[in-house]
């Protein structure tokens, strides 16, 4: 199965699934290409044109396609994607090196959708405070670490590991921080954490090996278990005080 367009590799996964890996000059572009192909597949699925499509699971630069093995095989899936790339579908897959802009058949461009979220953080909240360790690991002061963490917008690259857990990045290189040697058994709900070049908010109490910076009062899952974050969204963290944090819960 030869690669084409922004798909740099087709890799078999099992009897009923294949993996697509995407290229791009950086991770953000590869991730945008992944989101793009996901939308193409979702559109096909929602039109019930593709009863063979069981589920797609996107990640940073990869997209797992699970198909109904009773109906089709991996070659059929490959050929179908290829025909879409060649104009058999109203949407065309992104080209190598393009930004998060998609050409439709009409020649218009459509910017990849994604919500912008502003997430408040009580940095240094006692239940989620590794700021001293982070300061040691990065040789930054605590204030510098917080200021760097709030300095830029992050892209949500993928949602996974646990329901509503959004992998965001990239954090500024000065803040890059290895995982804990031994993961914690319990990280509290709402903990804002960093590891390597990534950052995330723990949607619920769970084990975890990331370095904790504080607590976010926003729910990452609503009462119907719908995640707040989707891949392709952007997130900006803002610093709030303890009393502002408490007011959130009272409000």
């Amino acid at each position: 199965m030869q690669p084409f367009g922004s798909i740099k590799q087709f890799v078999p996964v099992g009897a009923d699934a294949i993996m697509l890996y995407f290229s791009g000059s950086n991770l953000e572009q590869a991730n945008a290409a992944c989101q793009q192909w996901l939308r193409v597949l979702d559109r096909a699925a929602s039109h019930s044109e593709r009863p063979w499509l069981v589920e797609c699971v996107p990640s940073y630069d990869s997209l797992l396609i699970i198909f109904d093995i009773e109906r089709v095989d991996s070659h059929f899936v490959y050929n179908t994607l290829r025909s879409w790339q060649n104009g058999g579908n109203t949407m065309i897959g992104p080209e190598v090196g393009s930004s998060a802009v998609v050409s439709s058949a009409g020649g218009e461009t459509e910017v990849a959708p994604g919500k912008c979220h502003i997430l408040p953080v009580w940095y240094g909240a006692p239940d989620a405070n590794d700021l001293v360790e982070i300061s040691q690991k990065t040789s930054l002061s605590i204030e510098e670490a917080i200021s760097l963490h709030t300095s830029i917008e992050y892209k949500v690259y993928a949602v996974g590991f646990a329901p509503g857990f959004g992998y965001m990045g990239d954090i500024p290189i000065q803040l890059q921080c290895p995982r804990l040697g031994t993961p914690r058994k319990k990280v509290p709900k709402g903990a804002v954490a960093i590891a390597d070049r990534q950052t995330a908010v723990y949607p619920s109490e769970s084990p975890g090996g990331w370095n904790l910076m504080g607590l976010c009062p926003e729910n990452m899952l609503d009462k119907d278990n719908q995640p707040l974050l989707s891949a392709g969204d952007t997130v900006k963290f803002v610093s709030i005080t303890e009393s502002e944090f408490n007011a959130y819960h009272e409000g």
């Binding site: 078999p12 009897a15 699934a17 589920e55 891949a231």
Partner: protein, 324 residues
Amino acid sequence: MKVEVISKGLFSLIVDEGRIGKQRQGFSQSGPMDEMAYHWANFLAHNPDNTPCLEVMGKMTVCFHEPAIVAVAGRQVTVQVNGHDQPSYSSIKVNKNDRLSFQSGYVGSKAYLAIYGEWKIPHQVGSACTVVRESLGGLHGDGRGISDGDCIDISRCDEQTYEAVSVRQLPIQNSLSIKCGEHVAYDIEAPLRVIKGYQEAHFSQVAKRMFESSEYTVSSSIDRMGYRLNGADIASSLSSMRSEAIHIGAIQVPPDGQPIIMMRDRQTLGGYPKLGCLNPLDVSRLAQRVPGETVSFIFQNSEEARADILLSRQHVQRLRGEIA
């Protein structure tokens, strides 16, 4: 109708076919560990697909407050009603106040109890399936397993239906496998079929040969997320990779070289190298193995896997037709 759990056994939970299309939000696929047994139990209890079942480890006892049609499936399962032996893999008509007990002959294997009717339990994220780690699903919708004294509310089986429905029974030739004519439809001893994939190219030829030619012992670290095996070290040459989707039955190999087969409640994304995936048919068979038992693997290509799967579905359809 109330079905009262007198004794839950070691660990029991409510399962259905699980959550489809939700892995991109981080929800586990979930579903029955032994899909095959789960489907047979529901079929034999005259339920449509995707009806909830109880997945039970250890010995469970339940009491029926009304007459009901039930079926128990699993690995070498024994079944009793009021202390009298009953067949597994068969419809059983129980009466008001009957007590049903059942268990697998292997501690750690799963038995499935299907009960005819509509289960009145909450659905979350499209399924009633319990995922403890996600606090999702189950009787109370909070991810808890079944407790002693729990009552499950299921629509009543009216007298007419109770009398009219046939007793469906699967031909069982021996305790370990169910056979359909000459063809083995469910054989627990055969090697687990593996389709190479994922980071397969980063495993050496020697490692792959070792994997296929040696036996692995099922460790005590087995749960609904994954089955850790002990045996020949098959570490890959890959030191770091980006997290990506983990498919059911994926053979994940952490740096210690000991494979972990990823099961129903696995996390959706992970960053360890993977050698490929089990043939989907064999996930059910692995799920019934217990600590200390050995398993072996055999590679097959995806065409062979597809042929096996289509053949197996055909057998199941024929068997269903014959005993309907």
